[in-house]
Symmetry: C2
Subunit: 343 residues, 2 copies
DNA sequence: TCTCGTTTTGAAAGCGCTTTCAAAAAAAGA
DNA sequence: TCTTTTTTTGAAAGCGCTTTCAAAACGAGA
């Protein structure tokens, strides 16, 4: 069957009006006399007509698509942001074009290069790993919203979480429990996120006059496996910390598993905190103290900024910073006297 | 800056040829004499020209976009499939339009209704929750690939995992360990997946002559929280099982946490198995025995079917079934004599 | 009933590309 | 050198919509 696609002409014919009128019924209904409008609407319903987004897009220079770039959609933190953003975008009639850089910076850039800008009305970049200049260049041809990293001093709409404060609170909390030796599994040094957080962590430690020697800063990939593997390396060290912070819950949970396998008691022998407060954090054993990251809010806000931008074609750039809060669970406690030395 | 967008005319002018020639250089380069071709290519490079996908789409009736529908992108199982599918699609030059039904059947249908079919070249539906007739109707206007549920007897490309065999193996494994009372947290009865798996589980139990009374079939939402909550309900029952199967790792892990909180030993008092073999399964404690679901293969295969379909405009329908394998970890063991009654 | 100011309508010109068709150019054959 | 065949090219007609502009229809005031 599939009666050959109806076009605006079909509708115009059947309704006995011109295509301009049909077009108006769709776009500025109040400018069409009621009688005709109803007639056109009827025909449209009857023929189950829906206008070609391509033709409309070509004429209006807008397809109603918003791109979303993520480092890795299988990472739940990414997915939660996308989920929230999509919801908001959909409400405003936009569809989502998803791009995944697979945590590869080159690939991210290659995508910006290869995807025709006209294909989307704008792009939301989540945890982008490029330079400010890259995004600035991109933003010349396309509305851009940067979500995740702060990207300071760049005239582009962007929003981030207050990581400096988050780390300050986290370290303060551990300090209050009595911890002095704290290791930080910062993620990968190859990522902007990893580099940045090392700084924030360092500063937070300094503020409390806590030592932060190099060996307390541990590189690992942003995965369960990465945390697990890095924990193994740490176990070989002599100067063992009393607490560790993971740059994501994944890293923390991976590490926790490794320590548990080694017979350590958590939080007895070692306190662990994560970052993200992913749903899983509540359900692992021991449950994981974590820094709550407002994924939903971030996605929603990013979508809103984008919608405003696309709608009003405004060029002003907003900057939003969302708070991070410590969520205390079972994986943290005061350090016990019985330390690892006892083995 | 952003010099006003270059069009094919600009290129034609600057290269001193007609737009037809420019078009040919892009689409059938071998039909253009080398000299001109090079000249055009040069100009294109110089002006950093890229053709409007919209105009091209309008003319060729194809935008190069493939839709992917998922129930919930924050569910890692979904995300892994999308990740794999995207990779494959990208290799063939397609982009991905993501749709999320938010586990709402009505919403899923609404999306099919509202998104103009011309907007994409085809759609891959992952764990769709509609009726065969719904998909059949959809497939009239658009290439469709169904991935996840078997959707038997429907002339649409589809692929699924061999759930009947998976459950058979799983139950056989538990039976071999000595388990007789097995509860199944099947997910939500409102979902096709839940309904279907009840059947498979029942059949697997029957084959081993194991009783499968109603109270062993437990409804829960497909989340960590769902498993946790359902486990709480189960704890109130008298006839406690010696093993439980979760319809997803999430459910299993949520349930496990609840049992652990109640002081049960796992696998001592209760064996638990999940479904999916998500990355997390290895890292929870105790690590989770699970049925390995080939998310990557599923996504990749789905993408391949779609690509073939779109390319050759073929109407034949393929059906692929992927195997599920039991991955044994720490959460399962023979039932101990010391049972819950001992409390 | 006739103007004049409004509102409503349709014709036509794009939007930027592909593709057909016939003409022009090049190559091959005589 | 002159045909004939083959290859390469450009003009023009879409693809399905929006939008401008001017004409047509309408309603109000005189």
């Amino acid at each position: 069957m599939a009666a050959h696609r109806n076009t605006i002409d079909t509708i115009a014919d059947r309704a006995g009006v011109s295509i301009s009128t049909v077009s108006r019924v769709m776009n500025k209904p109040e400018s069409v006399r009621e009688e005709k409008r109803k007639r056109v609407l009827m025909v449209m319903k009857e023929l189950d007509y829906s206008p070609s987004p391509l033709a409309r897009g070509l004429a209006t220079d807008s397809l109603g698509l918003i791109g979303i770039m993520v480092p890795n959609i299988t990472n739940q933190a990414n997915a939660r942001i996308v989920y929230a953003a999509m919801d908001r975008l959909e409400q405003s009639g936009f569809r989502v074009l998803l791009f995944d850089s697979r945590e590869d910076f080159e690939r991210e850039m290659e995508i910006y290069r290869s995807v025709p800008k006209k294909m989307m009305d704008g792009i939301i970049i989540i945890f982008g790993n490029g330079e400010n200049s890259d995004y600035l260049a991109l933003a010349e041809g396309l509305p851009v919203v940067l979500a995740g990293p702060p990207n300071l001093g760049i005239p582009i709409d962007r929003l981030s979480s207050d990581e400096p404060a988050g780390f300050r609170n986290l370290v303060k909390y551990l300090h209050a429990l009595g911890h002095r030796k704290i290791s930080f599994f910062y993620g990968s040094i190859k990522t902007k996120g990893g580099q940045r957080r090392i700084e924030y962590f360092r500063r937070a430690m300094e503020e409390l006059n806590l030592a932060c020697p190099e060996e307390r800063l541990i590189d690992c990939s942003w995965t369960l496996e990465g945390g697990y593997e890095a924990a193994g390396r740490l176990l070989a060290e002599k100067d063992f910390p009393t607490a560790i912070i993971g740059s994501s819950d994944q890293i923390a949970i991976g590490a926790m598993r490794r320590f548990l396998e080694d017979g350590l008691l958590i939080p007895g022998d070692l306190s662990i905190v994560g970052f993200d407060n992913s749903p899983m954090a509540r359900y692992v054993t021991p449950s994981l103290t974590s820094l709550d990251f407002p994924h939903g809010a971030l996605g929603e806000k990013a979508a809103e900024l984008m919608i405003a931008k696309v709608r009003h074609r405004e060029c002003g750039h907003e900057e939003l910073v969302l708070p991070l809060e410590v969520v205390i669970r079972e994986s943290t406690a005061p350090p016990s006297e019985r330390r690892r030395e006892s083995q």
